[in-house]
């Protein structure tokens, strides 16, 4: 063996022995340099200025950020957060930014929110003390318009990318057990043409599939949603006669341990469907690190990992923007048997980068839309 061969063998052996072998290690994060003093100071100021220009100083109160957000390139405005019936701007520098729109008090607690243009917000609110809901719009100038009353609990809501159709899922009482405790047994998915006010309805989802996190493909053809640890897809151009089947169910963790649970689908502009996958660790029911994985909606086969969250939080929702260059993920600490989350944070992801935390820990983070 030559000298080069000996040295090569030696170097490879030492390098291989230094590889951290935790399956969920995230070495790259710790290794990134973070010497960006200027951008750390400049980013919050730029974010406030950009947001003020975007939403108009007359309709919102712009607050100076309480703390600096993560540094680096990207949009100042990351999305819109639903919190206690208010649509808040999520800024990089200030996750609870200015209020864009607020639901009128007569509609009760807002359950879900969706927007196609960032100006008109479609909202679903449950009527207090009943299982009835109301769908309405709200805008930044304070106007609110009722669309319709719904005889059931709305479990998900999404306006199509062109703003022409509104999809919503409703739990209705047709048997037992209830998909929404006390409110419904079977979930119907409605797609409403907002111009003609006509609806196409996929009826008869099983009660255990409450159809949450409705999300449209960029071309407005497909509507994906999750249920209880499974993911389904509806072709909205097809007749609404057959109940779509889940194409991805929970599955055994290939890394060992318990099961893996897919949830919260999101479409990339390329048409690829991405789901968040949380797996149980061996011997416990604690979640492992959540991964956003491309899935084939026909075969249910998992493909490439788009990103992973940098810690072992359970993911709740996923929102890509229209360019696919940004995504927000809500994650929290809970167990699979305890759905009451105790600790919620929001991560911002950009291609080629690790997700960065943009929010403080909170109990009240809900869904973000773009």
């Amino acid at each position: 063996m030559t000298d080069v061969e000996t040295r090569l063998r030696d170097a490879l052996s030492v390098r291989a022995s230094s590889v951290p072998h935790d399956p969920y290690a995230y070495g790259a994060i710790a290794r990134r340099r973070a010497n960006r003093r200027f951008t750390r100071l400049a980013a919050p100021i730029a974010a406030v200025a950009a947001t003020a220009a975007l939403v108009g100083a007359a309709t919102v109160t712009v607050r100076f950020p309480e703390r600096a957000g993560p540094a680096g390139g990207g949009p100042a405005r990351l999305g819109v957060l639903l919190e206690n019936g208010r649509a808040l701007v999520v800024e990089r520098a200030n996750p609870r930014g200015p209020v864009l729109a607020q639901s009128p008090p007569e509609y009760g607690e807002v359950d879900d929110l969706s927007t196609a243009d960032g100006e008109t917000f479609y909202a679903a609110a449950g009527r207090k003390g009943t299982c009835a809901s109301v769908l309405f719009t709200m805008t930044a100038d304070g106007r609110s318009t009722k669309l319709l009353d719904v005889a059931g609990a709305v479990t998900g809501l999404a306006v199509s990318p062109d703003g022409q159709r509104l999809a919503y899922a409703v739990a209705v009482r047709r048997g037992t057990p209830d998909a929404i405790p006390g409110c419904g047994t079977i979930v119907d998915v409605h797609v409403r043409d907002l111009a003609t006010r006509t609806e196409k309805v996929w009826r008869g989802y099983l009660g255990v599939t409450p159809a949450q996190h409705l999300t449209w493909s960029a071309d407005g053809r497909y509507l994906a949603h999750d249920g209880v640890f499974d993911v389904s897809r509806i072709d909205t151009t097809a007749p609404a006669t057959r109940r779509p089947k889940a194409f991805l169910d929970n599955f055994r963790n290939p890394y060992g341990g318990g099961l893996c649970f897919p949830r919260a689908p999101g479409y990339l502009p390329t048409g690829e469907l991405v789901v968040l996958v949380d797996c149980e660790n061996a011997g416990t029911d604690d979640p492992t690190t959540s991964r956003a994985v491309v899935v084939d909606p026909v075969t249910g086969r998992l493909g490439r990992v788009v990103f992973r969250l940098p810690n072992k939080l359970e993911s709740h929702w996923l929102a890509f923007d229209r360019t696919g260059e940004n995504a927000l993920v809500g994650a929290g600490k809970s167990t699979f048997r305890d759905v009451n989350t105790r600790y919620n944070v929001v991560y911002w992801w950009q291609p080629g980068k690790q997700p960065r935390r943009v929010s403080d820990a909170s109990k009240s983070w809900e869904r973000v839309v773009w």
């Binding site: 170097a11 490879l12 230094s18 010497n35 055994r252 290939p254």
Partner: protein, 164 residues
Amino acid sequence: MAPREQEAGLPALFNAHYRRLLALAVLVTDDQATAEDLVQEAFARLHGRALDDPDRALAYLRSTVLNLSRSRLRRLRTARKHQRPDDELVPSPEEDVILRADQRAVLDALRTLAPRQRQALVLRYWEDMNEAQVAGAMGVSAGAVKSHTARGLAALRRRLEATR
């Protein structure tokens, strides 16, 4: 073995081979996060496939890691050309402590080789495979392995001499 039985064997396969596959991926890509993705994807691709014996499953995993790493390396090369100095990866504390200067020089030189040369050298000198085994893992002929290994070693020697 039926897919369901195969599925049941995956945890054992993972426990037995994850670490070595990850090390292989790190040696051929030189990036821990990328390596983790590649190995994760290799296991995800194996999931649901009916491979009847564990050796075949391991060979499948190794080949998948190598194939994925080649395409990933091509993309990484382009990405690194446009990388800002701020985003450069610096050695992990483990690497800093463990690697001597001469070992680091060898790995730096290895990094500059073409992906197939690098893979051939890693399989030959780290996995201790013979030419036929390397050829099987890389999906090329034994002659091609001979050529990649010889050229890789020659390039490595030149670069190490140039850095002296």
